[in-house]
Symmetry: C2
DNA sequence: TCACCTATTGACCATTGGGGTCAACAGGAT
DNA sequence: ATCCTGTTGACCCCAATGGTCAATAGGTGA
């Protein structure tokens, strides 16, 4: 089906993927423009339709492809025998940063796809999401040793505060990068800052 | 300039404001459609241009108007003699919820306006933002008694964790509301849940 | 009843931009 | 010289855009 696309060298694939997910993430399915995508990707209009047939098929392919990308990275590299929550979440943050280095709009695209309500694709996306939820949900917290947390607080809320902190931290850094001229992201600095938050949160929520 | 609009009864003004900021927040300046706005507001196309002249003037008016709305509410109702950080931030959360009741897309609109890069309005918006930053920034934390916080952690990071928690909490609730059929928001329940987070964060970060 | 007036309508206009097509081409291999 | 595969971009039709304006609705005073 998409073999023509998948046989390209990775650099070109990634250029097209990034152009497309950026456009969809920013504007949603309906208002994303194939003209913009080909301009950003540096290919001709005809070629895009040669690879994907039409806009809808391209969008659905991207959704599947991005989800696989994420799932593969996480389940290959996350050590499920690791029982410490902070170590585990640190792993997750690193993996996320690695992915964002190659695909800056990967997670934004997936998030927006969840909210997509263009009638053209809503049904298919909803179906995909439902299937995925049945399989994947909750695996990230599997096997964690929760006895290390102080027990005078609702542990679910603690976990939320911690994950929210790292989500907001990375969102803030992405925002800064967008405002800066070259859109440059200093992953090293972010990582060091994240470490300081780890320290604070450990002090605050472990026994 | 906009006196024709401002002389309308408040209900009609709000209907138009909400239709417009929703459209701009969702699609950005360029792709926001005046047709969609008038449809959602329940007025005719001609009337919108009768009030605002053109799309650009409407957008810039909305930005100013929304900013004033927020500023007025905050500086009228926040008690700057209140020295306790949690009490202060609780006030802020309540005010934000009140505003969201009347203008569900108010903050989303402002946030997106900050990122707007349509050439048509970018210059004006950037200028407005610059002016505002010089005046307003940092007032929210003025006069807070920071000695109540434990001193084995970087206090700036603590403040961030706390504000982020409440931002994420409200974002999560907005998301839930979007998924629910009637888009209904149960402010009472959110408020109670926020209280539980206040309790946890106090325990974690006060001496 | 009718003339006047202001607030409001929505069909209409020129123009842009959309998704999608396809004849033509580039250039390496046989 | 002839394929062949990968690639181009001018072109198509049409939907939708921001904006206009003659026509109307409906209240007011005479």
């Amino acid at each position: 089906m998409f073999s023509k696309f998948l046989n390209l060298d990775k650099e070109k694939q990634d250029r097209i993927i990034n152009a497309a997910i950026k456009e969809f993430a920013q504007k949603g399915y309906d208002h994303a423009s194939t003209n913009e995508i080909v301009k950003e990707a540096g290919i001709s209009k005809g070629l895009l339709f040669h690879y994907f047939g039409n806009k809808k098929q391209m969008f659905l392919f991207l959704f599947d492809h991005c989800y696989e990308l994420i799932a593969d990275h996480f389940y290959q590299k996350i050590d499920l025998t690791e029982k410490d929550f902070f170590t585990r979440i640190r792993q997750a943050v690193i993996i996320k940063m690695e992915l964002l280095k190659t695909y800056p709009d990967l997670f934004k695209f997936i998030e927006e796809a969840y909210l997509e309500d263009s009638p053209e694709v809503k049904m298919e996306v909803d179906k995909k999401i439902k299937e995925l939820n049945e399989v994947n949900l909750g695996k990230v917290y599997e096997g964690i040793d929760f006895s290390k947390f102080r027990n005078d607080m609702d542990i679910e809320k603690i976990l939320k505060i911690i994950t929210w902190t790292f989500e907001k931290l990375s969102a803030e850094e992405l925002f800064k990068a967008k405002l800066s001229p070259e859109h440059h992201i200093d992953y090293e600095r972010i990582f060091l800052e994240a470490e300081e938050y780890f320290e604070i949160l450990t002090k605050a929520f472990y026994k």
